[in-house]
């Protein structure tokens, strides 16, 4: 695939950071434009008129939206010498990977959002969200099993789908009153391994404290405190 590659992203977005990781993993040269979600650029609004959300990957002027759709697009469209596929070739293994990526979005992200988005004092809602978040993390940990990565011996599609949520763990922990290391030690170790052993991950993820500060800012802006 030829052409200029542009990524519209917000540095804390786990969805946007999935795309960063995939582009770096594949060795694709790209330009990143940081979006201010409170003041979206004309480029974002015209590239993603349906959702007006990041990430958007623009290749030769043509936009691709939705992070998991973008991951598969990158996998299909960019092959560099030595860059392995993110999704396995075997249809069953692909289905397995897609199932778990979908689980991250529908179960972990949904519950995690409820942990940090609940208004101050909504103790019951936060407690319910904490339970659901921990349950989702434990389910993911069980799926990881004894493997170094969800993809097996190396980073794969599910790893790339999940690891951008790792910088959000601190935010979940502080608002939810639990620690990932205590509840899911193997998953915490996996997150560290992803960063330690993969430059594409280390270079793509924000500091957990920065995510927390960002969320605190958002809460103030939405009057949740």
């Amino acid at each position: 695939m030829e052409g200029v590659v542009v990524l519209l992203n917000c540095f804390v977005s786990p969805f946007g950071n999935r795309v960063r990781i995939a582009l770096k993993f594949k060795g694709v040269a790209y330009e990143e434009k940081a979006e201010n979600l409170a003041a979206k650029s004309p480029l974002l609004l015209s590239s993603n008129p349906v959702h007006a959300k990041v990430p958007v990957l623009i290749v030769d002027g043509k936009p691709v939206c939705e992070s998991l759709v973008i991951l598969e697009f990158i996998d299909d469209g960019f092959s560099a010498a030595g860059a392995p596929p993110l999704l396995p070739a075997d249809p069953y293994a692909r289905a397995h990977a897609r199932f778990w990526a979908s689980y991250v979005d529908t179960k972990l992200n949904e519950a995690g959002m409820r942990v940090w988005r609940s208004p101050k004092g909504a103790t019951a809602a936060v407690e319910a969200a904490r339970k659901d978040t921990v349950a989702a993390l434990k389910t993911l940990e069980a799926e990881l099993g004894g493997k170094p990565y969800f993809g097996g011996d190396a980073l794969g599609y599910v790893d790339v789908a999940l690891v951008p949520f790792a910088p959000w763990f601190l935010t979940y922990e502080r608002f939810g009153g639990f620690t990932v290391a205590a509840e899911c030690p193997a998953l915490a170790a996996w997150a560290d391994r992803c960063v330690r052993e993969n430059t594409c991950v280390a270079e793509s993820l924000p500091e957990a404290e920065h995510v927390f500060q960002f969320v605190c800012g958002m809460r103030k802006a939405f009057g949740l405190d």
């Binding site: 939206c65 998991l68 598969e72 697009f73 249809p91 069953y92 289905a95 897609r98 199932f99 689980y103």
Partner: protein, 236 residues
């Protein structure tokens, strides 16, 4: 129908639009399979062991290995039986991404609020959920235009593809919407392309073989809503 590449079993529920998606895909690809009707009040051991995470239908079991989640199942059928029947997704990566974008839109923006219609307690909440669903159908009309590229009535152009199957599974429920809520979900006056799509889709042999009887779906939906309302008032 060809028996291609091993044993296929589908665990389902007749009323489920998600199960219907899997049936449509199997039918369109010309694949024979064993169908097992589940009782969701008394789930089989096979269902519970095949889908321990969600304990839900549909589950497609191919040579003993389970695949779960309707959209994942449809893609799996396309991948694993690539030589059988038409391709459900475009070959071009960009066109494929466009199709997958609209598939995701369908799930997140139309089906999520629509599901709430059957679960929420008050008439206000139902009306709001319906409003969101109908708003999504309006946007989906643009999606149909984009995906088909003017090549035909389907999202796949002149032949049925991935998004057609995902929406196609919902058709009997779409038709049930007017008797149930008084609102047409797909209205020829507001979304003419989608209305034409629905008509053409229902003419397909696969659709005739698989789509549920609308009156049965209406009765089933009323039962579900009554049960949910009773459960809600018991919890109050």
């Amino acid at each position: 129908m060809a028996r291609v590449g091993g044993e296929l079993k589908l665990l389902g529920l007749w009323a489920s639009p998600f199960v219907t998606r899997a049936k449509l895909a199997l039918q369109i690809k010309g694949l024979s399979y064993e169908y097992v009707e589940e009782d969701l009040g008394n789930k089989s051991e096979l269902l519970l062991s095949s889908n321990p995470v969600h304990k839900a239908v549909p589950v497609l079991i191919h040579n003993g290995k389970p695949v779960c989640e309707s959209s994942v199942i449809v893609q799996y059928i396309d991948d694993a039986f690539a030589g059988s029947g038409p391709s459900l997704l475009p070959a071009d990566p960009y066109q494929r991404a466009v199709a997958c974008f609209w598939a995701a839109y369908l799930e997140d923006k139309m089906l999520t609020p629509w599901g709430r219609v059957f679960k929420v307690k008050t008439d206000e909440e139902k009306a709001e959920a319906m409003r969101q669903t109908i708003a999504a159908v309006d946007v989906l009309e643009d999606g149909l235009k984009e995906c088909s590229g003017g090549q035909g009535p389907f999202f796949g152009g002149d032949s049925v593809g991935y998004v057609d199957i995902l929406l196609g599974g919902m058709v009997s429920w779409v038709k049930a919407s007017e008797p149930l809520s008084g609102s047409k979900l797909i209205d020829a006056e507001k979304t003419p392309l989608l209305a034409a799509w629905m008509e053409r889709f229902c003419e397909l042999d696969a659709a005739k073989a698989v789509l549920q009887d609308v009156d049965r779906v209406v009765e089933y939906a009323k039962l579900v809503m009554t049960k949910n309302a009773a459960r809600a008032s018991n919890n109050n």
